[in-house]
Symmetry: none
Subunit: 199 residues, 4 copies
Amino acid sequence: MGRTSDAKNRLIATAQNLFWERSYRNVGVNEICEQAGVKPGSFYYFFPSKNALALEALEDGWQQFQSHALEPAFAMNVAPLDRITKLFQIIYDDHSAMQEQNKRILGCLFGSFVGELGEQDELIRQRIETVFTEIRKYFESALEDAIALGLVNIEFEDVPTCAEALLAFYEGALLIARAKNDAEIIRELTPHALKLLSG
Amino acid sequence: MGRTSDAKNRLIATAQNLFWERSYRNVGVNEICEQAGVKPGSFYYFFPSKNALALEALEDGWQQFQSHALEPAFAMNVAPLDRITKLFQIIYDDHSAMQEQNKRILGCLFGSFVGELGEQDELIRQRIETVFTEIRKYFESALEDAIALGLVNIEFEDVPTCAEALLAFYEGALLIARAKNDAEIIRELTPHALKLLSG
Amino acid sequence: MGRTSDAKNRLIATAQNLFWERSYRNVGVNEICEQAGVKPGSFYYFFPSKNALALEALEDGWQQFQSHALEPAFAMNVAPLDRITKLFQIIYDDHSAMQEQNKRILGCLFGSFVGELGEQDELIRQRIETVFTEIRKYFESALEDAIALGLVNIEFEDVPTCAEALLAFYEGALLIARAKNDAEIIRELTPHALKLLSG
Amino acid sequence: MGRTSDAKNRLIATAQNLFWERSYRNVGVNEICEQAGVKPGSFYYFFPSKNALALEALEDGWQQFQSHALEPAFAMNVAPLDRITKLFQIIYDDHSAMQEQNKRILGCLFGSFVGELGEQDELIRQRIETVFTEIRKYFESALEDAIALGLVNIEFEDVPTCAEALLAFYEGALLIARAKNDAEIIRELTPHALKLLSG
DNA sequence: GATGAATGAGAGTTCATTCAT
DNA sequence: TATGAATGAACTCTCATTCAT
């Protein structure tokens, strides 16, 4: 039996952070290795290419986003409409903490990848597309629950587009926050998300 | 009084297209020169750096966006609320044409730059920030006109945030369209923009 | 008394094939292991270096060449001059079969190694040299038998050079066949080999 | 106007030498640059790839072989059959000089490339194939002249195959010389070439 | 005995930029 | 004014080999 280590996971986690902060092309393989405490020569034992790492980093980011933000926000014990504001709240808290540490406002990992890698790597674009689909499903289920409880005045058939609108608003809010390097945008825009739930 | 060399303008126009399509880092100076029909050695006669070109390309993109989309959409003879849908309509038409030509859906030039260069180049980030501010002003003026005409039920003090919400929604819609490589998203989401105008 | 591990033999056989097809430097240790179904870590349990494997692969190739081509061709029951044409015939049949399977025409394993490793690894060069000497001996014995039977008009002292000429012609024929990727060259040139047997 | 230099030609000449001596894969781009007095970064200004350089080096080698060996040997004022021995003589002289300088016996540039790059790069294989065709044409014209003068007893229709046999013998002789690292092989085998010219 | 994990040295290549003309 | 030539630093990636288990 050979050795075992969590080097691969360290590489994924480090890459996720660095890509999020400075984008894919602005981060080199060597830098990722250095920061992950992995020798540069080892990288290609774990990953066939930098691109493959990006895909796994995306995957990891999705897992974290689900467990850290989506699942708590869209928990069953949260009132349907509160789920949406709670998602914004969690993300705002994260970014607010960044700001206090004088870190850059990162926005959404998936949204940031779109501009740079969407046209470059079809596999990554597809993964981001499915991630967005998954997020939309959370919005949809909240909307359906809200309809069932008579909290909103939306036709059942309009749920998908309405969820898409929520997703667009969410991604747009984070994009603007990143562009302005200001977390407060997220807080300010949170109540406006609910306006998208009218009929 | 000689105009700026035509070569310079060709470089700017070419760069704008290529950056929009494939992002900043994925396009090389030589490639821009080649496609613009400018000799590679001449580049640094016209621009101090690739970064400076990006700034001018952004500038050029902003001019075009204003004259091609913002000015027609937010013309005085258009009813205030129609201005917003008209902006979405113009952008949808552009992207729809792309789609028919089997080109990639590009989304928003400024939004695409955010993920890649926001953290890298402070000057570019600032320019994008002011561009967003300028766009928001168009939304604000439309909202103010709508309030004056009693078309919407918004407090005057809420106009800025409301405009910010519109901008976020607009950017988010284009980001999703790029991610899904599908122009129809823009058309589907257009009516939802107006929901953000309630009190 | 256990035989050499089967894994080792698989590595040798695989290496021989791959080296013959794509040359020494174009084939990596990991690829050999993978194709031989041997775990990459095990390689250096069986061989001290890639070079040592090459030497053993050469050895193996020599054994096969002897048993598959030389021994049948130079069998005592074959008329001396027919032995030479029979060698060409056997090699042609092999390459003709390759061609029908749309495989590349490989030429001579030993000849292919000469260009790449002759100057690089003295041990390998020496082994190829002795292989060539061995092959020449087969030609020499056939020539001696032909002289004894009065089938050719060669002085006894000219036998070594004459055999060298045959070897050169044989290697050259296979080199051209590989270069043209055409097995037919071998068949066409076969009768010309006998011309080298005149006085 | 930019600078001018013969750096490209120096790179080609150096590469030809090094590839001939130590084969393609055993020589790095950096080493070629260093020996040619060209900065490593400049390489890719002159050539799109190492492979492209190999193709040009082959081209250059072919030019030199023509002017240095083929043209003098196959000059009209040389008797047809002497042309063939003269080619061997010239090549022998070259290699003999190498030997006296304690250099390695290189054999034929084209023949050496076959084993290593034949299967790797189809363009290079094709170029070597046409080089061989060109060389064969020299042999053919000598044979035709010899037939016309009644110096050999060959049917006109056998000329191509006969020339092919000469080419094979020539390449084989150089291959053996390289394998044995001994130039004398070439001299010894020279007279045997003429045996291939009988009917 | 056998192997999964890891690695150092170096490969080929890219690219924003500089320089001589 | 304009440019062909050139470059250094950094890039992604390969690979024969080593090592802990």
